[in-house]
């Protein structure tokens, strides 16, 4: 069984992925997480999660190119150029 470990370096900081390992159950996983990711006081907290409990989502269709939803959806450069031409200051 594969386990994923997320570690927090300092209180208040977000947890980041530390790594993964094999362990037969939660008790073994907890013990190994402690040894691998906190033995040197490098973490203040750990999340130990069976990999199968994690849902991976990787497909994000955007068939109609709704680029206005994205922060890079607007090209200011082109619009600026248009506006300048209209105003005769380009």
């Amino acid at each position: 069984m594969i386990w994923e470990v997320f570690r927090q370096e300092r209180k208040g900081q977000p947890f980041t992925h530390g790594g993964s390992f094999h362990a037969p159950d939660q008790a073994f996983a907890d013990a190994y997480a402690r040894e691998f990711y906190a033995r040197r006081q490098e973490s203040v907290a750990l999340w130990v999660v069976p990999r199968e409990a994690i849902t991976a989502i990787e497909e994000f269709p955007d068939e109609f190119d709704l680029k206005y939803r994205r922060v890079d959806g607007y090209s200011i450069k082109a619009r600026l150029k248009e506006a300048r031409e209209r105003a005769g200051t380009g």
Partner: protein, 217 residues
């Protein structure tokens, strides 16, 4: 408590921790799987750390050198470690875990007792050791849960039980028998270490014995 009794107590504890740490570290690189290799080696390191702290106290008491001088400069027959920790059990994982479980159970009883010792320094170091031993016990318990009904494990506990009793002073043995759920039998007592220990001592002290006096690392 007389100075002699205090040193004797410190050396018994420290020798047990050092030699068990040494024996457990013999699994480094060849434990049953990688994750366990790291965890078991780490526990071995902790035990040796406990030994070091205890040797430092003993060194001060005896007015000789430092922890290393006591750990490595004695003759084999001067070590006080219990026969349980001297056994070379590699490559038998069932017996190794049986010893781990029995030792941690016995050690918990004596550390608990030591925490309420009238000598504040001893009580303090016991409390510090206890904070790490909690995790050693959790580790031992998870393996116990897994192996307790396996034939090889059952036989190993049967074999090592008289040795486990020998880790503790006679007045603490009934508590161990109760926790382990086995009748108190005749213990394998501490005595001058034998041949198996002599080989360990050779290996353990080799660097120290061959380094020139005053070598810095």
């Amino acid at each position: 408590m007389s100075e002699r009794a205090r040193v004797e107590l410190l050396l018994r504890l420290a020798d047990d921790e050092l030699i068990l740490g040494w024996r457990n570290s013999e699994w480094t690189g060849i434990a049953p799987f990688l994750e366990e290799d790291v965890a078991f080696s780490s526990i071995a390191q902790n035990e040796i750390g406990h030994a070091r702290a205890l040797y430092e106290l003993a060194a001060r008491e005896l007015g000789v050198g430092d922890a290393d001088a006591i750990a490595f400069d004695r003759k084999p027959e001067e070590y006080r470690c219990a026969p349980l920790v001297q056994l070379r059990l590699v490559p038998d994982w069932a017996r190794t875990i049986a010893r781990h479980v029995l030792y941690e159970t016995a050690d918990a009883i004596r550390i608990e007792r030591l925490k309420s010792h009238e000598d504040a320094e001893l009580a303090g170091i016991a409390a510090k050791i206890e904070r790490e031993e909690v995790y050693h016990r959790l580790h031992a318990e998870m393996w116990l849960e897994r192996l307790r009904d396996e034939q090889r494990y059952v036989e190993a506990v049967e074999e090592l039980w008289p040795y486990a009793l020998g880790v503790l002073d006679p007045e603490l043995r009934p508590a161990l028998a109760e926790r382990v759920g086995r009748p108190e039998v005749e213990a394998v007592e501490r005595s001058a270490p034998g041949e198996e220990f002599a080989a360990l001592w050779e290996e353990m002290t080799m660097v120290r014995r061959s380094a020139p006096v005053g070598a810095q690392w």
